[in-house]
Amino acid sequence: MFDIFKIAVRNLSRYRRRTILTFILIVIGMVAVLLFMSVTGSFKSMMVGQITDSVLGHLEVHRKGYVASIDNLPLNLNLKPQAMTKVESALHQIAAVQTWSPRVKFGGMYSNFVETTAIRINGVDPEREAATVPLLPSRISEGRKDGALVAKGEILIPALLARGMKSKVGDTVVLVATNRDGSVNGKTFVVRGVIESISGPGGRDGYIHIDDAREMLRMKEAEVSEIAIRLKDPAQLDRTEARLKQALEGEANNDGKPKQEGTPNKDGKPMLEVHTWADLSPFANLARMIDLMTVFIKVVLVSIVLVSVMNVMVMAVYERIREIGTIAAIGTPPGRILSLFLSEGLLLGLIGTAIGTLVSLAIIFALNIWKVHFAFGQQQDLVLAPQIGAVQVLTIALMVVGVAVIASLQPAWKASRLDPINALRHV
């Protein structure tokens, strides 16, 4: 086999310019795909990281119907303490869960005594919230970042609101909210900090202490709008979601229908819903679009390799018909002629892939040294850190080599089936 490869290398070097052009095409294709995958992959993981680690967490549990009307932040769909206890008991059973944070969410009015505007508020337990969404403190652009995220009587306000209302750290402001019974309640807060906005749901919310939220809303018991959950390993998301759904199903439904998510109520209907961050964030659609574009780019790569390698191999067979006739005449079996031409295609793929991979890795390395900054939505100065895994590189490399061999099959087959007499007569 080594001898066949040696001859194949010589044959490729015979048409140097054509071979180099083919290598260049394969390299360009490889670089385009690997760079696209690494850049979009890093963008995706960075954005997903931002969304899960500073707003949503990996999973959220709500009362049935809450997410459907989440824009209104309905107070009548909060979880009661019994449901909360049930959820917490389920979460304790799942090893993949790192921590969770209960939240009370509501809409209200924010006043600086001069102007008033609408605001969405998250009432949180500062320690648990910081543990569940650890990047949240890093979004505080003004004010204290040390100590508790927010203390009783303090508020973190979103940057856009702070700019619009000209609110500063230390200012006293008033929050007014309507509770479930329809009565309007107000409470003064001191601005503890300004928090940078990020894209997606909850990215422009203010934060107060959960006890303040319950007090403002005159809650008689410790209700919760949602429970945000952080996993030890985000890769366990789907498995954990499935386990949690199963755990919250409770007993079988009364109607004997297939089990649904959530604890069944007295009518046998589930009361709780489990959602992943992807269910809640529109960025998931963007991520899916990126995945789709990656597929298209791969199709383009396959086409480039297929056409360029096939072109080279068809030309090689056409130009070497007499030579093929000679080697067939001296007794070279058709299978060996086939393997000779397949080896040439394989080498084109292998060498092109090797160079393409090296160039791609060098560019990715360079991009990591010369940091590329960009803005996305409200987020400024994001740093692109493209990375690509060995499995992804190997997959693309195998794909290119495989396509190169497939592209060589038809010309190689034709070469192996040539009639020696006709081939020897070819001019």
């Binding site: 001898d3 066949i4 001859i7 010589r10 044959n11 070097s13 015979r14 007499r322 030579e323 006739g325 000679t326 080697i327 067939a328 005449a329 001296i330 007794g331 070279t332 079996p333 058709p334 060996r336 000779l340 020696p420 007499i421 020897l424």
Partner: protein, 234 residues
């Protein structure tokens, strides 16, 4: 002892609506270690006959037995195997592989056809290079060799895998007269050394006189063999 026997050999081509009978009922026998020429003008059927003897083409009817094998019954793969083991070819245009050196061209059948081990290959190729007087040109590629040198390499390639029969279709047609004689004499010398049967075609009267057995083709018919009385081993 006979190496090759042809009986009732015919070959008919169809050219459009017309059938052309290239070989019309040829019967002949070729002995082992003989030096045989098929002679005749262009279009007399020499190449067709050599192609059939070399398992490159099938006759329309008749049989050819080479080394006790009826080669007319062999399929494509079996014919390739038979050629690789028993028959060497020398072509008018030399037909060396341009990307390989003289050494590698001679070695080629041992790699691609017979898969000899490296050490045995090296010994055999070196021996053949010496036998055809090309040991100093071993590393040159075909485009660096003269016509005569290329044909020497081609002869060595035909013999390297210990072929019992070498078929040479107009081996001297592209060579000047002196070189042509040297190649024919080289082939004779190799026949003497290895006992290989050489069958070549030519329409050059001076070259054909070097053959020990001559078959003349006339309009597709093979006339009875004429034997040279005194072999001219030069």
């Amino acid at each position: 002892m006979s190496l090759l026997t042809a009986r009732g050999l015919t070959k008919t081509y169809r050219m459009g609506e017309v059938e052309v009978q290239a070989i019309k009922g040829a019967d002949f026998t070729i002995d082992s270690a003989s030096f045989v020429a098929f002679v005749g003008p262009s279009g007399s059927g020499k190449s067709t006959l050599l192609n059939m003897i070399g398992c490159l083409d099938h006759p329309t009817s008749g049989t050819i037995t080479v080394l006790d094998t009826d080669i007319t019954t062999l399929d494509r793969s079996a014919a390739a195997r038979f050629r690789g083991l028993n028959i060497g070819f020398v072509f008018q245009d030399f037909n060396l592989v341009p990307v390989l050196t003289a050494y590698e061209n001679i070695e080629y059948p041992l790699i691609m056809v017979q898969k000899w081990p490296a050490e045995k290959r090296r010994e055999q190729v070196t021996r053949m290079l010496k036998a055809v007087g090309m040991e100093d040109q071993a590393d040159k590629r075909p485009d660096q060799l003269s016509g005569g040198q290329k044909q020497r390499v081609a002869v060595a390639r035909a013999l390297v895998s210990n072929a019992k029969l070498v078929l040479a279709d107009e081996p001297t047609a592209n060579l000047d007269h002196d070189t042509a004689y040297r190649i024919i004499n080289l082939m004779k010398k190799m026949r003497d050394e290895t006992g290989t049967t050489f069958v070549f075609s030519t329409h050059d009267p001076k070259i054909m006189s070097e053959a020990e057995v001559t078959f003349t083709l006339e309009d597709g018919r093979v006339l009875p063999a004429s034997h040279k009385k005194e072999a001219s081993h030069v």
